[in-house]
Every structure is written in C-alpha cells, then in structure tokens.
C-alpha cells in the first residue's frame, strides 16, 4: 500500500539554526500539507501546497517557514531560524484532491530545538 514517508525521523538542532524536513508524498497525489503537534497539544495545520504554490497557510506559518517541491517526488519544509517553541512533531500529508479528499499522513519528524 502506498504511503507517505518522512526523513529524518528525529532531528535535534540549536536555536537559530536552519532545518529542512523532507517528505515523499504518495506518488499520484497532487496536494501536499504540513501539520505539527506540540507535545500535549492538538495537531495543527501549517500549510497546503498545490501546483507549486501555497494554497492556504495558517498564522503559525510565518516568514521563518517555507515549503518547496524541489523535484517530482520530494516536498520539504524549511524553518530558517529555529526557536525553542518550534519543538514539535511535524507531519507531512498528501491527498488526491483538495475538497472532501482524505489526507494520508506520514510518520512524522520529531524536531527538538535546544
């Protein structure tokens, strides 16, 4: 069964450093998403992406965040200058469509900012 994969599974970084989280969505999906879950809190939407453009972003997704589809298979989330409060589990998801379509999630990357 096709699945979303994410690398790395864990990342530890120093505050102020840049991190890039990588995702390989399900191959025939065209819509991609990033979510995060801070420990003990809800899963929160960050951004959706289609046709090389951001479709929607949350207020969390500020200028420190960016997304890119650098090639035909990868989808990345970059945090330019990490803060302590960026420590969270980051989930990538993909779907066939944007409206009333199931989003399938990857296993997540646990990011710890020290």
């Amino acid at each position: 069964e096709p699945e979303v994969t994410q690398t790395p599974s864990h990342q530890v970084t120093q505050m102020g450093q840049e991190v890039i989280l990588r995702c390989v969505p399900i191959s025939n999906h065209l819509y991609f998403y990033w979510y995060r879950q801070i420990l003990g809190q809800k899963v929160e939407f960050l951004v959706s992406f289609y046709n090389n453009e951001i479709s929607e972003k949350s207020e969390i997704f500020d200028d420190q965040f960016s997304v890119e589809r650098p090639d035909g298979s990868n989808f990345t989330l970059k945090i330019r200058s990490t803060k302590l409060e960026d420590s969270a589990m980051y989930f990538c998801a993909s779907s066939d469509g944007l409206v009333q379509e199931t989003q399938y999630f990857g296993p997540g990357t646990r990011l710890l900012v020290l």
Partner: protein
C-alpha cells in the same frame, strides 16, 4: 481555536463491547469530517470519513454518524478489540480553505481484554 472539540480525553471499554467516541464542532461551514487513529510516535492513520450530505457511513467495524443540527459526530467501533487501543482524532474541513483540517484534542481509547 476550539472549532472541533473532543470532550472526553479517555475512554475505557471491554473487549467485544461497543466503543463510542464523540466529537462536537462549532463551524457550520464544515462539510467533510474524518476520523484518524494514532499510536505514539506515529502519524495519524485514516479510519473513516463522512460528507455533510450524509448522516452515516459504515466501514467494517467502524461507523461514523453525523448530526448536523447538533453539530455532533460520533465514531462507533463494534466489536472493540485490544488492537483498537490508540488515540482517536476527529477532524473537519471547510470548502475553499485549501484542504485545511481542523483537529480535535483526541480521545485515548483503551480496550481491555
């Protein structure tokens, strides 16, 4: 942001019995609802979904009921199995919001043998 609420943080059920997980929402523009199951250190796994034009959707042991007037949905698992023990999240989306899913806080289900 409390648009989607799961008021029960935990639920314990005996194996073979029915598990009922509840979810309330406040945004009447939501038109698609999903249930995900999540194990620790894993991503959410899709279980079942329902469109706002329906009031019930069934898939094997899982049934989701939607009551639009009450802005309430529930997930029924019958019969419950120990392997169902996990955190269950409901999520909702609204048309023209870029596919954004709004999640509830989750309910931890424990199915005892």
């Amino acid at each position: 942001d409390q648009q989607v609420k799961q008021n029960s943080p935990s639920l314990s059920v005996q194996e073979g019995r029915i598990s009922i997980l509840n979810c309330d929402y406040t945004n009447s523009m939501f038109d698609y609802f999903l249930w995900y199951k999540k194990y620790p250190a894993e991503g959410p796994t899709f279980l079942i979904s329902i469109s706002s034009i329906k009031d019930k959707n069934e898939d094997g042991r899982f049934t989701v009921f939607l009551n639009k007037s009450a802005k309430h949905l529930s997930l029924h698992i019958v019969p419950s199995q120990p392997g169902d023990s996990a955190v269950y999240f409901c999520a909702a989306s609204e048309r023209d919001q870029g596919g954004k899913l709004i999640f509830g806080q989750g309910t931890e289900l424990s199915v005892k043998p």
